[in-house]
């Protein structure tokens, strides 16, 4: 059934039951493609396999509930103002898909290009911000420099006065950046993929990756038994290392807890997304009215989906400095997710040394924004066996060749 205002009205008048948004089938014996991980990236991959490559004999296996990992735990920021050309192309590809995603999926993912403003607090920040702006403009990505006064005009509750420890010296603004409703992204892709015949199998943990004597992948062992596959794509964020280890592939990843929190809901007070890498604070306001705040990663690797109080405290220190009117607001909910961080803070999307085994991981602290683009290029890679032009640079072997795409070194921070 197509979702629309008309459908809502009809349903309201007739009191009819909405159909299932996705089915919950039992697994087949084998599939053309098995995707491990039903987060946004994995579900998007399945969707594009079915919709663009005609590969519908696809299963997405999920150890818990779909969208329950980092897809449902992030601060929903979308932007493409990355430094390096390779990253710009990848994230801009995603932004272009975001712009039409609700219509494409017939599911309101609430993409809201309300502007992402990144603050500069030191002369070094100013240099870095301007470098990004110059690079983005050349790459055809909107990004503009704002004076402190202009920054405050764009976000009236921002404190640009001299009375804080690191006064705001200016900001880089990407107007097309914004937010989306994270759960809806997972659900929208799940519904659209399921409609096209993709099997989404929840509560089905992968416990092994089975390989033929000749080395290639032939399927996965799961809590529901062996499932055969011609190709396997691992899209498991913080648990990628564990899964890839089952195929004896050692990944250049470290997994850390990353925290976020929301305030109680209030009427609109924060019109845009503001990020500050120097003082470690990100904030926007959800449509429900909650201030959505991103904190940092713990200093140590861990698979625990909770982080230390001091990490949230450090972020709230910064939030209260930058937005002094929110100091009396209250933290409603705090949670953590496990992020998979590569040495150059850029993702790995492509082939692995094992025939038939593909991986999409390493999105670190910033994977949500890439969801549609990531799924789109990974679907191409799984369908053809070769990367799409956009993900060709994001190989696993770049850590051997040294062809890194180092967003962290350049920005010196999380993204």
């Amino acid at each position: 059934m197509k979702f629309s205002a008309y459908a809502l009205l009809k349903n309201a008048l007739t009191g009819s039951v909405w159909p299932e948004q996705w089915s919950s089938p039992e697994p087949r014996a084998s599939y053309d493609v098995v995707i491990v991980g039903a987060g946004g990236h994995g579900l998007a991959t399945a969707y594009y396999l079915a919709s663009e490559h005609g590969i519908r004999n696809v299963a997405v296996l999920e150890k818990g509930w779909l969208g329950g990992g980092n897809t449902g735990r992030n601060t929903t920021i979308i932007r493409s103002n990355y430094l390096w050309e390779e990253s710009q192309k990848l994230y801009e590809h995603a932004v272009k898909l975001w712009e039409g995603l609700s219509q494409e999926l017939n599911y309101n993912v609430m993409y809201s290009p309300r502007g992402v403003m990144m603050l500069a607090h030191t002369l070094h920040d100013v240099q870095s911000a301007k470098r990004h702006i110059h690079a983005n403009r050349l790459g055809g990505i909107d990004n503009e420099w704002l004076t402190p006064e202009q920054a405050q005009a764009f976000c009236p509750i921002l404190n640009v006065g001299p009375n804080i420890r690191y006064p705001v010296l200016g900001a880089a603004l990407q107007r097309r950046g914004g937010t989306a409703r994270h759960d809806a992204v997972a659900w929208g892709y799940a519904r659209a993929a399921s409609k096209r015949g993709v099997h989404i199998i929840q509560n089905c943990e992968v416990t092994g990756i089975r390989r033929a004597p000749s080395g290639e992948v032939i399927g996965v062992e799961t809590g529901k038994g062996f499932i055969g596959a011609k190709r396997v794509g691992v899209v498991a964020a913080g648990h990628t290392s564990v899964l890839m280890g089952m195929a004896d592939v050692r990944m250049p990843l470290e997994s850390y807890p990353l925290q976020a929190l929301v305030s109680e809901p209030v009427k609109p007070v924060m019109p845009c997304v503001v990020m500050s890498n120097t003082v470690h604070a990100y904030m926007s306001q959800s449509d429900k009215g909650e201030l959505v705040i991103g904190a940092g990663t713990d200093a140590y690797t861990s698979y625990s989906q909770t982080g230390g109080l001091h990490i949230s405290a450090h972020t709230l220190d910064a939030i209260c400095e930058l937005f002094p009117v929110v100091r009396r607001m209250k933290m409603l909910r705090n949670w953590g997710g496990i992020v998979d961080v590569t040495p150059d803070r850029s993702p790995i999307i492509g082939k692995t040394p094992v025939e038939g085994l593909f991986v999409n991981c390493g999105w670190g602290t910033g994977g949500f924004k890439a969801t549609p683009g990531s799924g789109h290029v990974f679907a191409h890679t799984l369908a053809t066996g070769e990367p799409y032009a956009i993900n060709a640079p994001f190989t696993l072997d770049r850590f051997l060749t040294g062809r890194l795409i180092d967003e962290a070194a350049a920005a010196a921070v999380a993204h």
């Binding site: 309101n108 870095s128 449509d287 009396r328 607001m329 933290m331 040294g402 010196a412």
Partner: protein, 1002 residues
Amino acid sequence: MSSAYRLPHATCIDYTKPLRFTFDGKSYQGFHGDTVASALLAQGVHLMGRSFKYHRPRGVMAAGAEEPNALLDVSRGGGRSVPNLRATQVELYDGLVVKSQNRFPSLRFDVGAINDLLAPLFGAGFYYKTFMGPRKAWAHLYEPVIRHAAGLGHAPSKPDPDTYANQFAHCDVLIVGGGAAGLAAALSAGRSGARVIVADEQAQWGGGLLAERGVEIDGQPVQAWLAQTVRALQAMPHVRLLSRTTAFGYFQQNFIGLVERLTDHLAHPPQGQPRERLWQVRAKRVILATGAIERPLVFSGNDRPGVMLAGAARQFLNRYGALVGKSVLVFTADDAAYQAAIDLAQAGATVMAIVDLRENPQGPGIEAARALSLPVLTSHVVIETFGRLRINAAALGRIGPDGDVTPVKIEQCDALLMSGGFTPSVHLFSQSRGKLHYDADRQIFVPGISAQQECSIGAAKGTFALQESVQEGFAAGAEAAEQAGFKSQTIAPSRVRHDVPSCAGFSGAVPRPKGQRAGKAFVDFQNDVKVTDIISATQEGFKSIEHVKRYTTTGMATDQGKTSNMNALAVAADALGRTIPDVGLTTFRMPYTPVTFGSIAGLARGDLFDPVRKTPIHGWAQHHGALFEDVGLWKRAHYFPQKGESLHQAVLRECRTVRSKAGLFDASTLGKIEIVGPDAAEFLNRLYTNAWSKLAVGRCRYGVMLNEQGFVMDDGVIGRLADERFHVTTTTTGAPRVLAHMEDYLQTEFPELDVWLTSTTEQWAVIAVQGPLARQILQPFVTDIDLSPDAMPHMSVRTGHICGVETRLFRVSFTGELGFEVNVPSGQGRMVWEALWAEAEKHGACAYGTEAMHVLRAEKGFIIVGQDTDGTVTPADLGMDWVIGQTKPDFVGKRSLVRADMRKADRPQFVGLQTHDPHFVPDEGAQVVAVAEPATGSAALGFVTSAYDSATLGRSIALALVANGRARKGETVYLTRLDGQALPATIVDPVFYDKEGARLHA
């Protein structure tokens, strides 16, 4: 008594202290000890809020932290406003101003209530199914409307003037909850001598005991026992009682976050008193005595003002002397509600009926009610309620033997007290990662296996009878103290009489007549989630409880599902045809109740946000008009403007003066690490790219440090003071990172090396004296070092005395001029600086700041790590192959330098740029492109790393990283601008001045 609903006896009210307050502009009276909720109820006011989505009129449902409906805004003016406070927790003070929220134009008449009529359209997740076209309409049309409709209260509009405190504490036993079980535990732990902290979120000690009357403990009336127990605890110096203190988070290693509210209840908070205090407590043992929360029953119209929890009605009566209604109907599945009926009846209310869902309830409560001739209807349910802004009647039905419900009658009432039994408050237990156990008999989750040094007692554990609760408290307190190393005494068991404990309960939608839809039967009151929403979510494929929660938003309101989670779970389980434990609860997350940002941030504001590091010469620079820049934690003098000078003018002057005469520069922020030990040189060999073994004592060398990827990470001059002692300098911001990097390698990779690393950054003040007259300026003060060029050549280090103070004197230059860096103990830094300054002034020298320093070094083509490098640059990229010790067997990063990509021809290389327009200073960060108007999406050749107006050269200069740049010298490239077309520049050598280095060898 000014109201017919105010009674003269209550445990928490001081009737001698009447107070005035306003609610939505109307003045009311209450008493000291009241909450806003109790004071309004005592005036007969039930309507206190509007729900989130349908704007339905709502009254108070609960009496404590679990309240979902009565959310208010409290404002003291001047930035002191707080939205979304629960009326049940706001303590009254004289002059309190509270307002209702989420309504327009008034609470009684709210246009948003139109949503209630349109409710069929607004089922679970409706917004995912519409508002999709046209493409831009979401952001520009629908979203703004939805955003304004959503949200509850308003954020404050002014900065918060209050302060917040922060305290760390350790204790042997932390007890959360000051009810019967918690106090008993405190008593027995305290008597053992253990350091005990007891925290309770309420103003008064006693928890549920405060609402008890008639109960006796050890022959004493309950209130007397309570007062005596609290007095005993107050007399123990090692027991700390924290009231108005919520334990909101249970972290790893028995680390608990508490927030203590200090002034919100005061009419006139003392000046300077913090508003709240965050306690971060590490406890050897934790006892959770967090009680239980009563569940609402889920039936159509269960949200009408006047419908509330039976236990809440009893609390309002016995604690606050507020009668919630005069003709009350009780709807229950639990014995405890009978006690509420009895208490209200004895206080003068008419109990219209006690409607019991159960077929044949038995127990002392039921017998007592029958003894008082209260009408008890068993196997009955409420199937609907009536009334607009307050309940005025309810329709009752009888459950037949086959389970069918038949409507029987309509009963008038002005309050309906409901009880579905009690849900243990396992929030903190669950946060501690303890495993819950499902008690199938009573249909509740109780604490199972602990994950930390913790135990739950009393109602939090599902022990509802007072006698057992107190017993558990005594035992748990004693056991915890013993485990913490104290010898405990046995406390004689208590005897409790006349207690009516909760004994059963019901979760999920109550039975209704066949064919009747669940209607407006609310599960989550604040977020307006109905039974039908949960059922439809499950039908739409949301089969995980986490999906149900997210799709319907049940449990996601400001009360985080305290009253709704069990009912939501039961409804979902029923709809899915699965058992409750199979479906399972959603994860409990911190905080237990919302916590003010300010109390978590505490003192970290303004200059306390991050430590401010100042050099010993900071005061002098300030006195001499310096403006400062933030570099890491340091404040560095950026430039020293003379009267009327701009940054640009000051820097030109400072640069000219240094080149022509001399300048003094405060270099104290440079990182300094003392590396000592027999293997010191070998350690440096491995951490820096160049060779150190043969560096002579008394000489210095410029060192480059790489990360594992082979990229430049830090640089600095390293002097050898003795065979086994090096003085290492690092960049200002790199210092901590470099020391950590060194320690990491020393401890994990090279543990065999005999080396000690010590940060000495703050031990030394460093005064750079640079310029042709540098030697003349220093000479008069140095007694025991020969400064002559032959005796002390460029890149040497000597120890001796300056101004009578010991010094490590380096002859080094970051300006390209003859230069020295004078290291003296920090305490003497200012004295030496002032002596040198007096001499420097005689020679016409200046003090210069970091900006001039940047320009001077750029003229010489010296890099700044972090500005001219960005973590992707190798020594070869910088034209520094000479810094690589080619014959060394290994150093950190060496392996990576041989990777294919590190040897490509088109790697970025460090070059100079000469703009064709000498006045054009490109942006640092400008892209270097091949043509003036590059096509969008075309690749850059590189970027400008540094750019300045150079006084020395009388024109602009720039440094850049350009692909294969060294081979392109002489080529014209273009530099992008943000406000116009790219402008041309020629690629040149990065050394603009004194290429031969004659000046620094002077």
